[in-house]
Amino acid sequence: MRLSFTAKLTLLAAFNILAIALDYLPNLIALTVVAVVIWAVARPSGDRLKLTALVVIPSVWSVVILQGLFYTGWPKTVIFTIIPPETPVAGWLTGGVYLTYQGMLYGLRQSLRIISVAFVGLAVVWTSTEREIVAELRRLLKNAALSVGVTISVRFFDIFTQDAKASMVAYRTAGNRRLGVGMFRLIVPLAVQVLRRSYVVTLALITRGFNPRARISAATRLGVLDLVVITASLAVATTIGLLKLLTLLYIIDVLYIPQLRELYWYVVNYV
């Protein structure tokens, strides 16, 4: 039984809301586990496994480490001292450079938010055809040109990364070892390639009779599974999103509803 693109899109939207709304670490981990299950259902091939690794590992690693190093919040618990404060010059200037628990935890949260949505997004893209995407986006956005634009950018993402890799190889072959001012020489051929391909795609669309003003097709018929997924996704995401919004208003002292104080407590501590 296949899910319609409408259901998939709703699921993706729900994950976006939940990723922002959830703050309690076990909940974010649970959200990511669910996202991984959805991703696994799409049966990723070897190449797609690599692509996933390319999206997930740098996001988690870089965000966690960067936040661990440069977290500005308070309190801070030092896990590892990189530059002790007594180190000549660097230590005196910086007051010491540390990896902090709270920074890494904040980074872990942020990266879990990114990757949970990325896992579901990848699964949606892999299990949907361009036709489904265009049709649904046209229906939703009421704009054929924008729908085609979004679809093409999603579909061409793989090709763009291959182009980027090829440009990088060429850049390195030319004797450049580090990214720096010479980056311009890497970006220009990439941009030219993108423009050239866009021109070819546009010509192809026009010759195939693409008409942005054409009538929008009727909505897809939704099955029972679609309805279950849409209802559950919307219900969970809107409930948690609303609770979180109300709690945020309470925390910043904008709106306090005494009848909700038990709920605020649970949301602050467990959501």
């Binding site: 670490l25 801070k76 618990t77 001292t81 002790p84 404060p85 104080r261 038990e262 605020y264 501590n269």
Partner: protein
């Protein structure tokens, strides 16, 4: 200009020549113990609860003790019912969890955002009721029937003070001490005495408002004039906050308020403690730190009031003079204690002085009749490290050190006092003042008889932890204390529970909790000792890699047969 120079020189001369307020007895600064004994530990772990607050929740909020700091970063209380059937824990997250003797959870209560039951819990003497004090905008007390765990009474106290707190629910959830809160609960006979306090919170900044107050100590303590005959006034200025407090006597049968003290309106200081004699004839209370802005001579820190417990009428007041020139005000945090017959009343001040009063004579004469005093902590010259709290160069200065003091209680007609860690008398904004050496009388237990004879000294190795107001728990002759880190040396190796038999004058057991965390609070019933532990960072400083040990959990310890 000339006047200023003359004033400075005069001030210096006064400081140099000024005799200290000498108590009638001074405990020698010595590390040797008097009849001390360190028995082999005889305490075993009976059971331990699961984590009551998850470690990552605490870590993220920085809620763990620091080995290098004196401050309390994490709170929690534990109280055992007099029949030993139940043990209740109040957490800073806002829950009350009740366990039975075997560690089975029998009840759990949550109170919602901005209502935190972290500060006072008390079972009635017949174990029929559990009273839970809640810090909130209103300041609440909820009483549960322990047979059904249903609520039988609910009080809001803000109307007895200055109305609901300016602190919002969000602020109180994070900093419950900024809410209106019961500060002490005491069941005696069929009356529940409740002390409640409200700190003034600036509505805009959501933090307490401080002001500078100058007091002529001669006006407040006329006896000081005799010590400084050449002075016409002794002006002492300091910063203080605004706080209102009251004491209520609640009838346990009807749950109605019998009387309120002061009748005319709230006391303009904080009341951190209450005490009564066995029969409930007298009720004592002290004021702590806060001083009135409008009438500092009427309401200030360091006052002892003894009331008629039946009517709330003031019987006498003891305004304890400060230990000048090192301290310009008196602070009394731990509760005074009556002997069971109400004949004597013992009191200990923060800078380590013990006073024993003839309570009955004081009542008859309507003024304090001090029988004897003892100083547990002579102020000593020493170097102090100044560490800027917001970063910057540290500096060493020459100042004075002392050890904080308190009263552990009265048991078997013996007065038991203690000293905490070493502190500096120097104060300046924005700096942590860390003594570079320990005071020789720090972290000790002192037992006196009613005549002031020192019977026993023993040493423990770390700061007593203030879960409840009094860090010591007493059951008959047994007295237990939860000991944390030594902030001067950043040492956590000896933190744990220390137990003494104050009748036999012996340490009967010690259970080190370095595996479980820092003891936040202790309760004792028979040979059962309950300890609430929390995580602690055992690293020597804030910039050293953290070494967090322990969990927020309850330990049930069993005391074996006391050593010979």
């Amino acid at each position: 200009m000339g006047v200023m120079v003359a004033a400075i020189i005069a001030g210096l001369l006064i400081l140099l020549k000024m005799p200290m307020s000498k108590p009638s007895a001074t405990i020698p600064n010595a590390t040797a113990s008097l009849r001390s004994s360190a028995a082999a530990p005889e305490i075993a772990l009976a059971w331990q609860s699961p984590q009551l607050i998850e470690r990552h929740w605490l870590m993220e909020r920085g809620m763990y003790q620091r080995a290098w700091a004196w401050d309390t970063f994490i709170k929690g209380i534990v109280q055992v019912s007099p029949d030993g059937k139940y043990v209740a824990v109040g957490t800073q997250r806002g829950e009350v969890v009740v366990f039975d003797r075997n560690g089975r959870e029998v009840a759990k209560f949550t109170y919602g955002a901005g209502r935190v039951p972290y500060y006072v819990l008390e079972f009635s003497p017949d174990s029929k009721y559990l009273a839970v004090g809640i810090a909130s905008r209103e300041g609440e007390l909820i009483v549960y029937d322990t047979a059904t765990w249903r609520e039988v009474a609910h009080f809001n106290f803000s109307s007895y003070l200055k109305g609901p707190s300016n602190a919002t629910e969000s602020t109180i959830q994070k900093q419950p001490w900024n809410g209106v809160r019961p500060t002490f609960l005491l069941f005696r006979g069929d009356v529940l005495y409740v002390a409640v306090s409200e700190t003034y919170i600036d509505p805009k900044t959501q933090s307490p408002l401080y002001f500078k107050v100058a007091i002529d100590l001669f006006k407040l303590y006329p006896e000081l004039r005799r010590r400084f005959p050449n002075l016409t006034s002794y002006i002492a200025a300091r910063y203080a906050g605004i706080c209102w407090s009251r004491v209520l006597a609640i009838d346990v049968k009807t749950w109605r308020v019998r009387w309120v003290w002061p009748r005319e309106g709230p006391a303009e200081s904080m009341i951190p403690n209450l005490a009564s004699d066995t029969e409930g004839r007298y009720l004592s209370l002290t004021t702590w730190w806060y001083t009135s802005r409008s009438d500092p001579y009427r309401w200030h820190s360091g006052m002892l009031f003894v009331l008629n417990a039946t009517s709330g009428e003031v019987l006498y007041v003891f305004d304890v003079p400060p230990y000048v020139p090192y301290f310009n005000y008196t602070s009394t945090w731990t509760a005074p204690a009556f002997t069971p017959d109400g004949k004597y009343l013992a009191l200990a001040t923060g800078e380590g002085r013990v006073f024993v009063l003839d309570n009955l004579r004081s009542i008859a004469e309507r003024r304090p009749a001090v029988l004897w005093t003892a100083s547990l902590s002579e102020v000593l010259p020493a170097q102090v490290l100044l560490i800027p709290t917001k970063g910057g160069e540290t500096k060493v200065i020459q100042s004075y050190i002392y050890t904080y003091g308190g009263l552990a209680g009265v048991a078997n007609n013996r007065i038991i006092a203690y000293t905490s860690n070493t502190y500096a008398t120097y104060w300046a904004p924005g700096v942590e003042r860390k003594p570079v050496m320990q005071h020789p009388n720090q972290t000790k237990l002192f037992v006196f008889d009613l005549n002031g004879t020192l019977l026993y000294i023993d040493k423990f190795f770390g700061m007593p932890m203030y879960g409840k107001v009094v860090p010591f728990a007493t059951s008959g002759c047994l007295m237990a204390v939860g000991v944390g880190n030594d902030w001067v040396t950043s040492d956590v190796s000896m933190m744990g529970v220390y137990v003494w038999d104050v009748c036999r004058l012996a340490q009967v057991g010690r259970f080190l909790t370095s595996k479980y965390g820092v003891p936040l609070d202790v309760a004792i019933s028979g040979n059962r000792i309950y300890v609430l532990t929390g995580p602690i960072n055992a690293a020597p400083s804030e910039t050293a890699p953290a070494n967090i040990i322990g969990e927020y959990q309850l330990l049930a310890l069993e005391l074996g047969r006391p050593a010979g």
